[in-house]
């Protein structure tokens, strides 16, 4: 029990010996040219297979599987719900004015209809071996929901339909809105930190999500077209190739580690075990321009702090020692080849470097988003 409690925010502490940890760390920390256990380049992702629209009972769904056998399914369901009147001091007085004079209608309405509420998007994550109130599922769902409801497109280029981001899209009229349930199911044991897998699956499921076409107008009670073929995508898309690059897309959360001076993307479980820093960075395309923007950054507790330290030969009674090494060990200095659990935090310039690698033009963020565009949706 305590082992699981310890590993709450990151994945389980892996059972690798201190010698292996030290070997792994030093090969990942090689200056400018890290050697990863599976031979990938630092920015290369693991191969994955993806499909969408697999569950007919949902508004949108997706399945993503990594080559190591971890799989996740996401189903998105939408419900129509009545909006509880917002307790806004100014809108109360506005409403009073409207009742008396009915002088302002256009502006007040438009501002009321473009805003939504973050709690209209609900996310639940099911991971085998964890209770649903354990720290890992809670932390993961907050981490993924946060950028989702945050992603307000600020550019004027995104036409009225998507003006308030995802939350704005959920507004039907002043009295009704959609409530979105995103249910994430990890089918296999979490072999590595499941965040990238779950984030990619959620992204694809949201892209394939369709809402029934609205037939009623304005402030009427909502009434929908019962033809599913006429349904509209939650994230609207246009035909032209050029415009599609500028459209609002759900954000993606990337897992990035730093080892020594190196920054490594999509780490496997063993690589996370030796990471000095573990960051989850959520990015999305800016509404107006082609550039990417950061929506959220969170540090994840790296499991390397909980690993068992290695014992230098000098302290080991089973081996012969030399006085010089013994002195070094007493001083608590780092001895090459002997694993020490990581201590302390991350330097600011390391964070800046990690963010820059994600954001830069032609960088990892763009690559991932383009790869996801390539998945056939619908």
């Amino acid at each position: 029990m305590s082992a699981q409690r310890q590993a709450s925010s990151a994945s389980q502490t892996p059972h690798i010996s201190p010698a292996e940890l030290s070997y792994l760390w030093s090969s990942l920390a090689l200056p400018n040219n890290p050697i990863r256990p599976d031979g990938r380049s630092p920015t290369q992702f693991r191969p994955l297979s993806a499909e969408t629209d697999i569950l007919p009972g949902t508004n949108g769904s997706a399945r993503v599987g990594f080559a190591d056998g971890t799989q996740a399914i996401v189903g998105v369901k939408a419900e129509v719900e009545k909006t509880v009147a917002a307790a806004d001091v100014s809108s109360l007085s506005q409403r009073a004015q409207e009742q008396f004079g009915e002088n302002q209608d256009g502006e007040g309405k438009s501002s009321a209809t473009t805003t939504g509420h973050g709690s209209w998007v609900q996310m639940s994550i099911e991971i085998p071996g964890y209770r649903d109130d354990d720290a890992l599922p809670v932390f993961l769902s907050e981490m993924m929901r946060e950028p989702l409801v945050e992603s307000v497109s600020s550019g004027g280029n995104a036409d009225g339909e998507m003006a308030g981001g995802l939350k704005g899209r959920l507004v039907i009229n002043r009295r009704w809105h959609w409530r979105l349930y995103i249910d994430v199911l990890l089918l296999s044991q979490p072999l590595s930190y499941p965040l990238p897998l779950l984030s990619l699956t959620t992204h694809l499921a949201l892209l394939s999500t369709k809402l029934p076409k609205l037939k009623s107008l304005g402030e009427e009670d909502p009434f929908f077209d019962d033809d599913w073929d006429a349904a509209e995508y939650l994230y609207p898309r246009s035909q032209s190739r050029l415009a599609s690059a500028l459209q609002l897309r759900p954000p993606v959360t990337l897992l990035v580690i730093s080892v020594g001076e190196n920054v490594i993307f999509d780490p496997s479980r063993d690589e996370i075990a030796v990471a000095d820093t573990l960051l989850a960075i959520s990015v999305a395309r800016d509404g107006g321009s082609d550039a990417l923007k950061v929506l959220s950054i969170r540090t994840v507790d790296p499991p390397s702090r909980l690993t068992q330290p290695g014992m230098p030969n000098a302290e080991n009674p089973a081996s012969l020692e030399s006085a010089a090494v013994a002195e070094q060990a007493v001083n608590g200095e780092e001895i090459p080849g002997v694993w020490r659990p990581r201590r302390g935090g991350v330097k600011r310039n390391t964070v800046a470097k990690m963010v820059k690698l994600v954001l830069q033009k032609g960088g990892v963020g763009e690559e991932v988003l383009e790869g996801l565009e390539g998945v056939e949706v619908g």
Binding site: S90, T299, G345, R348
Partner: protein, 303 residues
């Protein structure tokens, strides 16, 4: 937009608190250690209430207080042996528990921790795990419990929840939790790498025509909308961050002309500056705690 202009001048509307501080000026922090004798270490932290609250007390315009200020108590129990049933752990087992009192926020919180409280607990754990030298206490546990007596507002109470309705108050709460927990751990005489302090910076926009700007230690009730905010747990002597939580889109911030930093970098630097400020208060509180302890050791009155 016309609707914005009518908001403040609407008849009967209470006035919104305004930020009186400079953009790089922090609120005063009250931090005292050792108030809970049964715990091995404890601390109490309070943020300075905004001037709007004092004004509302003297000349009330509304029955509802205009803003709230953070108040929290932190207790540390341990290091203590793990229960017999627990599996072997070569490291200190750190447990963090953050709970809002039911009356802490404007909306009542239940007695069972909800998702946001658990989330805060995980953030706090990440912040502290980097500071504590865990292998020094094998087979031991350390419980850190924080009770939030009064929470920060997420926005001005008169505003309808809208597109900027994210729980911004939580970020201030987390910064307070980090600073208080750090003081309580020092009060429990658990040696750490450094005193870790929490700080918040935000990119805020006041009104629709004002350019978004960077402020340190923002009180969410004092601003129209917060575009992006960042909390750090920062160790000044090592210049390292053990916990970083940034959210929102800060790419539209207007920094000074010669400032070439990105929005998120400016936020991070701002939060670190705020944490440096909190660190001075923290160091003073820990010194007081040490003096009290030294007094005890020399045969002073039992506490």
């Amino acid at each position: 937009m016309e609707t914005v202009k009518t908001k403040d001048s609407a008849p009967g509307a209470a006035t919104r608190p305004q930020r009186q501080r400079q953009s790089n000026e922090l609120r005063k922090i009250f931090l005292k250690t050792g108030l809970i004798p049964s715990a091995s270490g404890s601390s109490y932290l309070e943020f300075e209430p905004s001037p709007a609250l004092a004004a509302a007390r003297s000349t009330p315009k509304s029955l509802i207080p205009p803003s709230s200020a953070l108040k929290l108590a932190c207790t540390v129990h341990g290091p203590k042996p793990l229960p017999r049933s627990a599996t072997f752990s070569p490291n200190l087992v750190l447990t963090t528990h953050v709970k809002y009192a039911p009356f802490a926020a404007r909306k009542r919180k239940g007695h069972i921790r909800d998702a946001s409280e658990r989330d805060l607990g995980v953030h706090l754990e990440t912040a502290l795990r980097g500071v504590i030298v865990a292998e020094r206490w094998p087979k031991s546990g350390l419980d850190i419990t924080i009770t939030i007596i009064e929470a920060e507002d997420d926005r001005w109470w008169g505003d309808a929840p809208d597109s900027h309705d994210a729980p911004w108050g939580m970020m201030n709460v987390l910064a307070g939790c980090i600073t208080a927990a750090s003081a309580a751990i020092a009060d429990a005489r658990i040696d750490c790498l450094d005193l870790v302090a929490g700080g918040v910076a935000a990119i805020v926009s006041d009104g629709d025509d004002a350019a978004p700007r960077l402020v340190l230690d923002c009180d969410p009730a004092e601003h129209w909308s917060i575009l992006s905010a960042c909390v750090v747990a920062y160790m000044p002597s090592r210049d390292e961050i053990t916990e970083l939580w940034l959210k929102g889109d800060g790419s539209k911030a207007v920094l000074s002309a010669d400032d070439k930093r990105l929005g998120n970098e400016a936020l991070l630097d701002g939060a670190v500056d705020a944490a440096r400020g909190a660190h001075t208060v923290l160091a003073e509180a820990v010194r007081e705690s040490a003096e009290r302890y030294a007094g005890l050791a020399l045969g002073g009155p039992a506490r």
